[in-house]
Symmetry: C2
Subunit: 141 residues, 2 copies
DNA sequence: ATTACAAATGAGAATGATTAGCATTAGCAT
DNA sequence: ATGCTAATGCTAATCATTCTCATTTGTAAT
C-alpha cells in the first residue's frame, strides 16, 4: 500500500508528475488543495509539472479513488487524500480554514430522507459555512 | 407584497427585464432555474432580455433576498424563489429532478457540530445526490 | 407632457477555471 | 537497446460568468 502500488492497481503508470502530486498530498502539510495550489507548490519546490497535467492527474486520482474532490463555496474545486473515512466540512468564510467532522445522526437522517421520498441515495455533499473564532481564525488576530 | 413593492423595498427600479424575470419565477412552472434557463424561457416567450442582464438581475434578486442561489453538482448555479422557508435538496443524477426536504434534526446537529468546534455558523449547503425510482424518474421510463 | 439624470440594459469583450488537441517525451515490456 | 503506448506540456478552446461602455429607460421634478 505504497504510492507505487496505488498507481499500479489503478492501471496508471508510475510517472514523475504523478509521484510528485501524490507525495504532495501524502506529505500532509495541507489536506485540501486546489489544482492551482498543487501547481504552485510543485513549482515552488522546483518540480516543474504542467498545469494541464496537474488537472489530469488529480482527476485520474479521483477516479482511482486515491483522492476525493470537493466544491467549497467559490469557483475552484479542492482535493484531499481519500483515507476511507467519509466526512463533511466546516469552512471559515473569513480565513478559509477547513475543519472536518462526521455526524452519524446526520448521515442516518440523510439516508432516511432519501428513502422516504423514493430515492436511492448515491452520495451527498454537506458544507457548513461559518466564522471561526479569534485564536484560531487566521483572519481575525 | 407584490412584485413592485418587492423591487422598491430593495432599492431596485421597476424595469421590464426585472418584472419579467420575477414573474417567471412566480409563475412557478419550474422552481429551480439557471441563468441560461431563464434566458431561454424569456426568449421563447418573445421577451428579449440580454443574457448579461439576466445574470445581473438574478444576482440582485439574490442580494435583495428575493431569490436563493444553489450550486448543484455541475458547473452552473440555479436560483429559486425565496419563500422564507429554508430547505435542502435531493437531486436525481439521472433525470435531474429536484425534490426539496427539511429535516429539523439535521439542522440541529449542524448547529451543534459548528458550535462544538468554535465556529459561528453562518449557513450551509446540503445536496443529496440519488437516483429516483421508476415512475417518477424521467430518465428511466 | 417635458426635461434631466442617474440607473439599467444589451452586445460583445474579457475573465477564470477547466478541458481538448497534438506534437514530443518517457515508462515499461520485450 | 528497441519499440510502442501512454503520459506530458504547451497552447488553444470551452463554458459559465462578469465587465465595459455606449445607448436606452424609469422616475421625479418642472
Ligand atoms: Mn476533508
Ligand atoms: Mn429548493
Ligand atoms: Zn477563520
Ligand atoms: Zn430521476
Amino acid at each position: 500500500m505504497n504510492e507505487l502500488s496505488h498507481l499500479k492497481s489503478a492501471g496508471l503508470k508510475s510517472t514523475l508528475p504523478r509521484l510528485k502530486v501524490l507525495s504532495l498530498f501524502e506529505s500532509g502539510s495541507e489536506r485540501h488543495l486546489s489544482a492551482e495550489d498543487v501547481y504552485k507548490k510543485l513549482l515552488a519546490s522546483g518540480d516543474d509539472v504542467g498545469l494541464a497535467t496537474v488537472y489530469r492527474v488529480l482527476n485520474q486520482f479521483e477516479q482511482a479513488g486515491l483522492l476525493v474532490k470537493h466544491h467549497f463555496e467559490g469557483d475552484k474545486s479542492v482535493f484531499e487524500l481519500n483515507q476511507g473515512d467519509h466526512h463533511d466540512h466546516i469552512v471559515c468564510l473569513q480565513c478559509g480554514r477547513v475543519e472536518e467532522f462526521y455526524d452519524a445522526t446526520i448521515e442516518q437522517r440523510q439516508k432516511k430522507a432519501a428513502a422516504e421520498r423514493g430515492f436511492e441515495l448515491h452520495d451527498h455533499s454537506l458544507y457548513i459555512y461559518a466564522n471561526c473564532v479569534k485564536p484560531k481564525c487566521q483572519y481575525r488576530n
